[in-house]
Symmetry: D2
């Protein structure tokens, strides 16, 4: 057992750290100004392109993608980089071309796409020439139960016809999101986890309607394309747009989830570290009742508790990444569920404590905290609420 | 000891209940539509005036104000009405002319104002012809410690001159907020709690600048005038604008706080009840993994815990109101601190659980929950963070 | 609504307070010494009889029992007295002849007993000439589900024959516990809640075997008769020993529970107050790192949180008592469940915090805290674990 | 980074696992019976010697001790073995000669003892021919603040004279505890952490009085020598009994603490695993309201939460061990504090949930749970309460 990172990870971590400190965090107020200047725009303001160019030039590009098309890092090697990007959640992941949902979509195309699908969609995504969306969750059903999915994908000759309604399609408000990966049922009578398929739907296909944006605690998240409700009405695409085979949808979704959870959790830990660093500054600078906040026992306890949570959970995520790399996602089920539950919840608490330390500034836009809170809070719902995962984990644990 | 409400309370409670169910809650989507149609407006859309006219016609008007100028209710009698208005937090309090910060400002004018001040400002406020703001909190200092206040109010002949910067002046973005009550120091060398004074500053006085709106999480709260940062630069008002005497500011603030906490806490309990009623509907309607949410043990526990919290805390607020009515605010210090800490925290948790039950809909604008969360979360910071009150309460309790 | 206690309650509360402060608490070390001197004895040492005589002479006797055979107090009137007895949990309730399980057993005899049963068993219990036990819980089944009860009560001519095994029969190790009230099934085929009956079994009936004592976190609770496992093998008692009719057992148990929960909860609140008073002394006396514990923020928060919990929950218990007095136990179901869940849990936390403040002394016998912890912890299991009650409460709340 | 254990660790872990499953756990009821048969004995019953002989024969002996006198394992290698011994907390550590306080005392002698001290005391301890005690905590002061220590060690010619009072001297009730390591002040005027020294005091030295046993909740812990209050009155020992030099006491205590925390924490994790395994059995076997406990959502959540806590915290302890092995205790300060706080607290909660699942059996002696609860609860007080460590950790974290 060895807790030291390898040379490549260490080197990339240092360069990422420098990029985030020197470029991403200082650019956050610029992002806000550019957003304010274009109140109707859905999509990244100019600063994002600048940062992308800079990151790409430094080789900090597509680090999330294993294999030859990406940087070739293992999950364990990429994880610490993802953490560092969490320090500037709105800018660093997108600058590195490592932001959701594009990462997951690129993985799907990389792992399950045909050469034609890869050429048509993966290449421009890897180049950040286009963006993508993932259309999974539905407004009318509890989508954490995949058998509930109501969207239909029907074969019709050389085509598939898609009908259904999705929401929380992150990024889809951005007109550059040129390709949607849609989950639907091809065979409602098949076995429970063979009913679903995934299919590629270009945004401009007739019958695709981006209905409206959704907000998260008042935020529209315009800078990364918002979250859309999307209706699919008689949408017809070539049969070649199906990803893998009919009935493979559930398995692809599961495969997509594993690395996604590592990414989300490590970024969340970075968010927690950022919050803690803000608390550190504030607590030393702010005086109340004759003493700095840093001298007050309750604040010290909060900081200590936050530190403990971050140290323990980071290790759990790293071990999960290591298991995925060494024995595969299936044998890491317990750990994948564990981090999905535990990390966002802990970071939510850490950010909430930070808000409390900042008072009014904490809930306003004068600190990044309230926005981070909203982002992290949503993670506890995305891909199934905590309770679904707790239940699965508990059931697995209780088998004699 | 008797836990039954008196006849007048019961009667008003029933009528308020009917108003909220029949008029306020159904008007919430109208409010949202009208806000969307006037994206630059700061102040209540037309539906608010309609509801106000209706409520006033039904005698549901100024119920918060004791004595002959108001409805003459005790704190204990008004408390259950305040709870009911919490069921439609954005519409019912304002419809009843019982919304903060106007209520507190009217109380200050009622209790401490001169006849001229009352005629000039209290009358139009009671008539809802104007709105007001309360300028207390400052961006640069921990305002929960009143000795930190940096705004100066200097006597200059027949005038006072005010210099300072305030924020979280709720309602001040609304151009109808014609009068600001400003807290500042008249004598920084006086005893700790005799340094501060309060003064009336008409909005249109030269030197008053409403600098910018603040957001709470991503909400601007335009419908009730937002939350402003306000700069006062050499603002000159007649000496007669001082409320009570020099040095009375802290005492007035304390007097204002008592009823305000009853109002806030009871409305918060109403918010909790609303959240719970939404959970009830959702849990019965939503099916996951073959059973309705209402049949799942974890959801039942959440609902039970929420019910317990609401029942216990409602009684504590009512007892606090009763103490204020019978022995006065000073002897209710422990209870006033206790409800300030415990109620918003519990309701925050109740609303958060409700969000979890609703999933994506919970964080979006499709339910009122995320907005209520932001509002309740802020209560834990307004008038001093929880920790300041816990510390005072603990210190008082530890004296041998 | 009125939160002031009536004259009789106030007067009894003051006298009880004086008794507990002057006699019961000072006698606690005497109790420990007398127990140490008689290491094999199961039953109250001499100090208990002395205190009983004193309390009885002062009219502080059988206050729990409503109606003419008792003190005639309502639940609401007795509740504050029960709280005060909780300050000296091992001595005050027993000194007042108000300790479980005798109180519940006397209530059962008072409300459901025949004149002969009352004369034979209630009179000596009211006089404290004998003690009793309540044989309900069984080792082999989840007894919170009454349909699980396996003990059989079979009619055989003029007798009933009882077979079964009970445990947690509190007090039964004391040879003075002359009468056992036993719950069993007379008709396993009847409707769910008409299968059970209760019957009086004198301790010396052949076939009754007090098998062994049970411990609670290492404590044997010898001073109040311990907790026994009791086997009933072919135990034959006259048919006249049945309490009320066949099938009435469940209803009697429910009737017994209501006041019992008020008593347990109010005593538990008294325990919480005692713990808090010990913390107050300790925190002022103890110095660590240059300051008294009372000056340390974390300790202050604990004390404040404890105070808030006690204030809110006391009101909830009192309201429950008032509901029982005015509209009956059935319409107080929600509240009875709520206090059963919330009070022991909160007091457990309060006592645990007190232990933490006392350090090593807290877990040892040098303070009463560890013993109180064990007693309160057990309340969360007695009469069904919290989770059963949370589930019922949640289900009731979720009905549309 | 690599989460796989090395070959030696894996091999020892498997053998330890087999020993605990086949010998230690099955011997627990034997231990209880032997204790019941010798109600006055302070010290291990015969079964302990049997298990020791067996373990020693299998090479499972002194595994805790690094270097040539012990098994030569690193902290990281020993940690998983310590976890396994936690599965049978009362028997496995002592069987392996790896139980506190002897382990810490042996480390002190190993690292700081003279050859004479080692020969005289370390050898028989390594052979389990004698036992030892560590006399650090004092009843009258907050001992977590080392400057509070009141025991004096005064030089008098060739001797030191010791005066003071200690308590929580674990093991000291056992007459076989032949040697006490006593912490006291040699120079109260020296720098804060140079005032203290440690000295070896043979039990039979005149002036040493083992005053009384202390209980933990209701447990006397007789099987491992209980917890004693010990008075030292004019106790005279040769100057050669001083360990290292005058003023080295604090440093030795710190050095002793590091490995001790790894041991305690890993055993605690083993306790948590044992509790969870008991829950697994119970939850599958027990039926309430028509379903096994394992099918009930709340129980599943508890189990899942317990699993998450154990996985995350185990990794944190292992990383701490690795840091101690690679960069030393000083640079692992944050982690050592973190595990000291987080592990016992989490395991306390896990054991408490298990008690709740078991109901009455959980608080009684019919399961090991209540005893384990008491043991783990005490860890949160031993070597300083959680709050002291949280405060240090928070302070360190807040330095800019």
């Amino acid at each position: 057992m060895d807790f030291a990172a390898d040379v490549r990870t260490t080197e990339l971590r240092e360069r990422s750290r420098a990029f985030v400190d020197e470029h991403a965090i200082p650019a956050e107020p610029i992002l806000d100004r550019q957003l304010a200047q274009a109140p109707q725009a859905w999509g990244p303001p100019p600063i994002v392109d600048e940062l992308r160019a800079l990151a790409r030039a430094q080789g900090l590009w597509n680090l999330f993608l294993p294999g030859e098309r990406g940087a070739g890092l293992t999950n364990l090697q990429y994880a610490p980089i993802a953490e560092i990007t969490g320090w500037s959640l709105r800018l660093a992941p997108v600058a590195f071309n490592c932001s959701a949902p594009d990462t997951g979509n690129m993985e799907v195309l990389n792992d399950f796409g045909t050469p034609e699908q890869r050429e048509r969609w993966l290449e421009p995504l890897l180049d950040a020439r286009i963006r993508s969306a993932f259309c999974m969750t539905e407004p009318d059903v509890a989508s954490s139960d995949a058998t509930n999915i109501a969207t239909r994908i029907r074969r019709d000759g050389d085509h598939y016809v898609i009908d259904g309604r999705k929401w929380w399609s992150t990024g889809a408000m951005n007109p550059d999101a040129a390709i949607f990966i849609v989950m639907g049922k091809t065979d409602p009578d098949a076995a429970r986890h063979r009913q679903q398929s995934m299919i590629l739907v270009p945004r401009d296909t007739p019958g695709v309607e981006v209905v409206r944006p959704l907000t998260v605690f008042g935020y529209d998240d315009r800078d990364h394309g918002g979250h859309a409700e999307v209706a699919f009405t008689g949408v017809r695409v070539p049969a070649a747009n199906l990803i893998a085979g009919e009935g493979d949808g559930f398995a692809i979704a599961q495969a997509r989830l594993g690395p996604g959870r590592i990414h989300h959790c490590m970024r969340a830990i970075g968010v927690g570290e950022r919050a803690l660093s803000l608390v550190r500054e504030r607590a030393n600078a702010r005086v109340a009742f004759g003493r700095s906040l840093a001298e007050q026992g309750v604040i010290r306890e909060w900081v200590a508790e936050s530190r403990i949570q971050l140290e323990a959970l980071r290790l759990l995520v790293l071990k999960t990444a290591w298991l995925m790399d060494t024995v595969g996602n299936k044998r890491a089920t317990t750990e994948i569920a564990a981090i999905k539950i535990a990390v966002p919840r802990a970071v939510q608490q850490i950010v909430d404590r930070a808000i409390q330390v900042f008072g009014g500034a904490g809930v306003s836009a004068d600190t990044p905290l309230a926005g981070l809170y909203a982002a992290i809070r949503s993670l506890r719902l995305a891909d199934g609420p905590d309770e679904v995962h707790l239940n699965s984990l508990g059931r697995a644990e209780l088998r004699l």
